[in-house]
């Protein structure tokens, strides 16, 4: 039975061979378009637009985590740092340069990417050391921005007021657009040769280097993309809530949510982080806001169940069920 199973269990991409070329080419766009359409419908039937903005941003952040952690294996606990930098750069652009909201959001993305570039030396570290050092870096960004002696530049601990640039429709549209773009980018990377390169780096960086891969450069590109997504996300968030303080955007909860959402949905897959973020953020808003103690209990339970029964997240669980149906339950 094992041999039979092995013979049949070929490259997962074999499953796709039965699909038409058109379906293969279209699937990243479909993966991006469906959530966007759902958001565009939802805003007409659900009155809390800001919640939808937050959910779309968290979908994008979960995909950012997917790109850097799912494809390269580097877990950035300090991901919130890019989020905060994006919010502040965009806010600075609006207040001091007179940028419009949408332009400021894009500049915020550049700010996030630049912050990512500054942290490039952290890639000398691996595993928990990398994760914790990024956390320290995120806190360092917070300490710099909230420093009272920098009030003339960042307004220190007093935060930013972007009320004059507030635009409900635009911020919602850009949040949904960001979610769509983040999903599309992750999906296109996953099925590209670059995605194959990132998987090779994740499996064994030295072996990948001997296969001719410039490990530092290719990993850096993924890091920049993930940082830019967080930067844009932070910029839209700051713009959408209009008034924020450093602790609102340099908040480790942003990292924790994005990581848990991505893990819950299934790192390395495309639909997983999208569904994980939408589902868990919805639960958070149903239970967490009114009864935070129950929310923490539910989240704790979800994490325990995830580790025990679905370490590859929802996407992995679905794949296992599909495999069992195809090859029989006793195969493994």
């Amino acid at each position: 039975m094992l041999l039979k199973f092995r013979d049949q269990r070929q490259n997962p991409s074999e499953d796709l061979k039965g699909q038409s070329r058109w379906r293969r080419a279209a699937s990243p766009w479909v993966a991006a378009a469906i959530p966007v359409l759902i958001f565009l419908v939802a805003v007409h039937v659900y009155s809390n637009e800001l919640l939808l903005v937050d959910m779309a941003i968290y979908i994008a952040l979960a995909q950012g985590i997917n790109i850097i952690y799912g494809f390269t294996g580097y877990l950035p606990f300090g991901y919130f740092g890019f989020f905060g930098v994006g919010a502040y750069v965009a806010g600075y652009g609006i207040i001091h340069w007179g940028l419009s909201g949408p332009v400021a959001v894009l500049v915020g993305g550049v700010g996030g990417a630049l912050a990512g570039a500054i942290l490039l030396p952290l890639f000398r570290l691996r595993g928990a050391y990398f994760a914790l050092t990024t956390l320290a870096a995120g806190e360092a960004f917070y300490a710099i921005v909230s420093n009272p002696s920098l009030t003339s530049i960042t307004n220190g601990p007093y935060g930013l007021n972007l009320a004059t640039a507030y635009s409900s429709g635009w911020s919602f549209g850009m949040a949904v657009g960001l979610a769509g773009v983040a999903i599309l980018v992750a999906a296109l990377i996953k099925r590209s040769r670059y995605g194959m390169t990132l998987k090779a780096i994740k499996d064994d960086p030295y072996s990948a280097a001997m296969a001719g891969i410039n490990v530092a450069r290719d990993r850096f590109y993924a890091w920049l993309i993930a940082a830019a997504i967080a930067g844009v996300g932070g910029a839209i968030y700051g713009w959408a809530i209009s008034v924020f303080y450093p602790q609102d955007v340099f908040d480790v909860t942003v990292s924790v949510f994005a990581i848990v959402f991505a893990l819950f949905g299934g790192i390395g897959s495309i639909w997983g982080p999208t569904i994980g973020a939408a589902l868990l953020y919805a639960i958070y808003n149903v239970v967490g806001v009114s009864n935070p103690q129950y929310f923490q209990l539910i989240y704790g339970l979800i994490i325990v169940l995830l580790v025990l029964f679905a370490p590859r997240g929802l996407a992995g669980l679905m794949a296992s069920i599909r495999e069992r149906r195809l090859f029989g339950g006793g195969a493994r």
């Binding site: 490259n11 499996d203 001997m210 296969a211």
Partner: protein, 247 residues
């Protein structure tokens, strides 16, 4: 045994001069010097911990050289990144295979062939390493011997001029050993230089014409394999004899 001349003509392909690799105060390589010519096949032997794999790792850019120099085809490559070393024309297999488990067998080879700008070589390399039949399988379904061949296939996809084979024979059946020896000989016949790190002398005899014997990070013998086996110093290294002429 292959009948190849020991004399080298022209500039060596690989020239290692006074190479020292330190880990803290420990000198894993202690002044290694050697040259390997184009199309030569040499063995690298020595007891466990003698520095064989450290030498491969240092030449391939995984470990930084503490002292000394490494040049390949006349170009200094000391301290170059592994991908630069690979692009220059040096590649290797690993003692414990290191395939990319997230990729299929074909994709493992494709990644290397793509980065070497030789995508057309994928099928040829898969066929040569007898992996074509399992090309679309995931790596975890391969046997240990197949995983070793995949390591070799990935290295070959880079079209190296010099290939380090790190204990490829370990754990293979006699038939598999014979097949691998034939394959390696054919690579040498095509002009590829080989450095075979190995403990199995019978296997080495089929593939190389000359050996370097390494112990405690130093080369203590260089010459034909049969001479190495009769050499007192080499016997002392492997058998711990103390009544040799050198004692």
């Amino acid at each position: 045994m292959i009948d190849q001349g020991v004399e080298r003509v022209g500039e060596p392909l690989l020239a290692v001069q006074g190479l020292v690799t330190r880990f803290g105060k420990f000198r894993a390589l202690d002044g290694v010097s050697l040259t390997i010519g184009e199309g030569e096949s040499v063995g690298l032997v020595g007891p466990n911990g003698s520095g064989k794999t450290t030498l491969v790792n240092t030449v391939c850019g995984l470990y930084p050289a503490s002292e000394g120099s490494i040049s390949f085809a006349g170009v200094e490559i000391t301290g170059k990144r592994p991908d630069r070393v690979a692009a220059a024309g040096i590649n290797r297999t690993f003692q414990i295979p290191k395939p990319f488990f997230s990729l299929s067998v074909r994709e493992n080879v494709e990644v290397a062939a793509h980065h070497a700008r030789q995508p057309h070589r994928v099928e040829e390399v898969l066929e040569r390493t007898a992996l074509l039949a399992v090309a679309n399988h995931t790596v975890d379904t391969l046997t240990a011997a197949q995983q070793k061949r995949l390591d070799l296939a990935r290295a070959l996809a880079m079209s190296p001029r010099l290939l380090f084979i790190d204990e490829l024979a370990a754990g293979l059946s006699p038939n598999e050993l014979q097949e691998v020896a034939v394959m390696l000989r054919s690579l040498v016949d095509e002009g590829m230089a080989l450095v075979v790190v190995e403990h199995l002398m019978g296997f080495l005899e089929q593939v190389v014409h000359e050996v370097f014997v390494l112990t405690a990070g130093r080369i203590v013998f260089q010459g034909e394999l049969r001479d190495a086996l009769a050499d007192d110093t080499v016997q002392e290294v492997f058998l711990g004899r103390t009544d040799s002429a050198h004692s």
